[in-house]
Amino acid sequence: MASVDADRIVVEFPLYNVAHRSFKQQLLQSATGGRIGQRGEITVVRALDQVSFRLKPGDRLGLWGHNGSGKTTLLRAIAGVYRPVTGRLDVTGRIASLIDLNLGMDGEASGIENIRLRGVLLGLSRRESDRLIDDVAEFTELGDFLSMPVRTYSTGMHMRLGFAISTAIDADIVLMDEWLSVGDADFQKRAQDRLTHFLARSKILVLASHSEQLLKDMCTRMIHLEHGRIQAAWEQTPAQAPVATEPGRAGEIGQAPVATEPGRAGEPGQAPVPSSVGWAG
């Protein structure tokens, strides 16, 4: 069973200045406090303000908003990193966070060691992590490079590895910050296929993006965030009709016209967007 249930959640970041981070200052202030009256409240930035929504299996939620509107914070809150200050957030199901593909990667360690490292960081046992190796090796086609330190990899190889590891473990809830796109043209198609299948096996997707078009194509539900508040929320039919994914039909996926969007082209690391994505709810 997978679900995300957010009830008026608030996430606030304390903005510490140097004095707040200093034990000495705090000690002095508590000794002289009141008289000088400098004990000033810590400024807080409200990153998420009274955000509520409820996701059930089959939901593909798009988070749309500008930089700093709270998209990534919300993803991290769902991932359990930031616990809401007030409100209730219940998440059930295994989470895959594709926010940072390079989670826990170590440049000195070999590709294979990095696969194991990621596996255990995601809570797998050593043995379970070892089982990921074949799948990742086959997909990345890195061959002997997998026994070399990752710092010797080109950027493309590095991204391939991170992408392959991140999509190697099935999850109920997938969190994504912008659409993933890695590698050269040939590899990109295979990456999109892999991502499509990965998403098809999941139950809930939360995808954050600047691009309204991307979200229109992908998502069944939308939330427009601004300054951490929900401006608007609506349900929609994805422009690219959901395709029921079955193993036998893998070949068809990715052949639909690729939607490119001028607004996103300039961003570093964000190559053109998706081919068609299918999902089974």
């Binding site: 970041f13 940072d100 826990g104 960081l121 809570g123």
Partner: protein, 273 residues
Amino acid sequence: METLTAIRWSLGLNVARGAYEMLGALKLRDTWAYCGWQDIRLRYRRSILGPWWLTASTAVTIGVLGVLWSQIFQLDIQEYLPFYAIGYVVWTWFAAQINDACSGFTQFEHIIKQTRLPYPTYLLRLAMRNLLILGHHAVVVVAVLMLCHVGWHAVSWLSIVGLALVTLVSVLLSIVVAICCARYRDLPPVVGSLLQVMFFLTPILWQPGALRSYAWVVNVNPLFHWIEVIRLPLLGRWPDATSYGWTAGSIVVLGLSALWLLGRQRDRIAYWM
């Protein structure tokens, strides 16, 4: 009366939360054990000697200073060197763990911001790393014991029990240190200087009997007792019951403080990164 009950409830609640967090971390055995082991492997990769390089410098320190101090204190080298070697190696291990704990969360910021692992996992990773380094340094102790004809007695096995107890102490203390240092960024240098002072204040260089009228300074120093439960059995002697008492007491006090602090602050640690 009511406030008292409320306080007791909140204490209990935080300790329970902390214990839950701790259990979660212990369950992720493969995570911290593999990561810690991997940290050491990478040291080997950077230089062929790996951690042995540190061991070599420890050996030189013990050899040179051991001879020097035994002359200054006018002690029989055969008697003094094993005492000094064990104390110094145990101290080096313990101090490294606490020093590492100062950045126990901040050094893993990139992981903490992406995924939610029980927080003690990070400190167990450091403990694993430091125990493996201790394993390297233990070679120096073994060499010194053999050189000075200190044999392995039945009581020597107790040192393993002692090491297990002190490892627990070090992990619990690490939790407290790591949380405080994540919140207050000027604390790590303070912890460093405190450790430095404690090194000289604890009978490592000098023997516990040397203080005569100030003997109480030694007896109320928990660090002394933590070292004793490892050192004395290796020297073929029984540690005092008081040393075990102090060690057990430290585990209870540190355990409760660590769990309470953890339960209280666990949801804020990510915000401090």
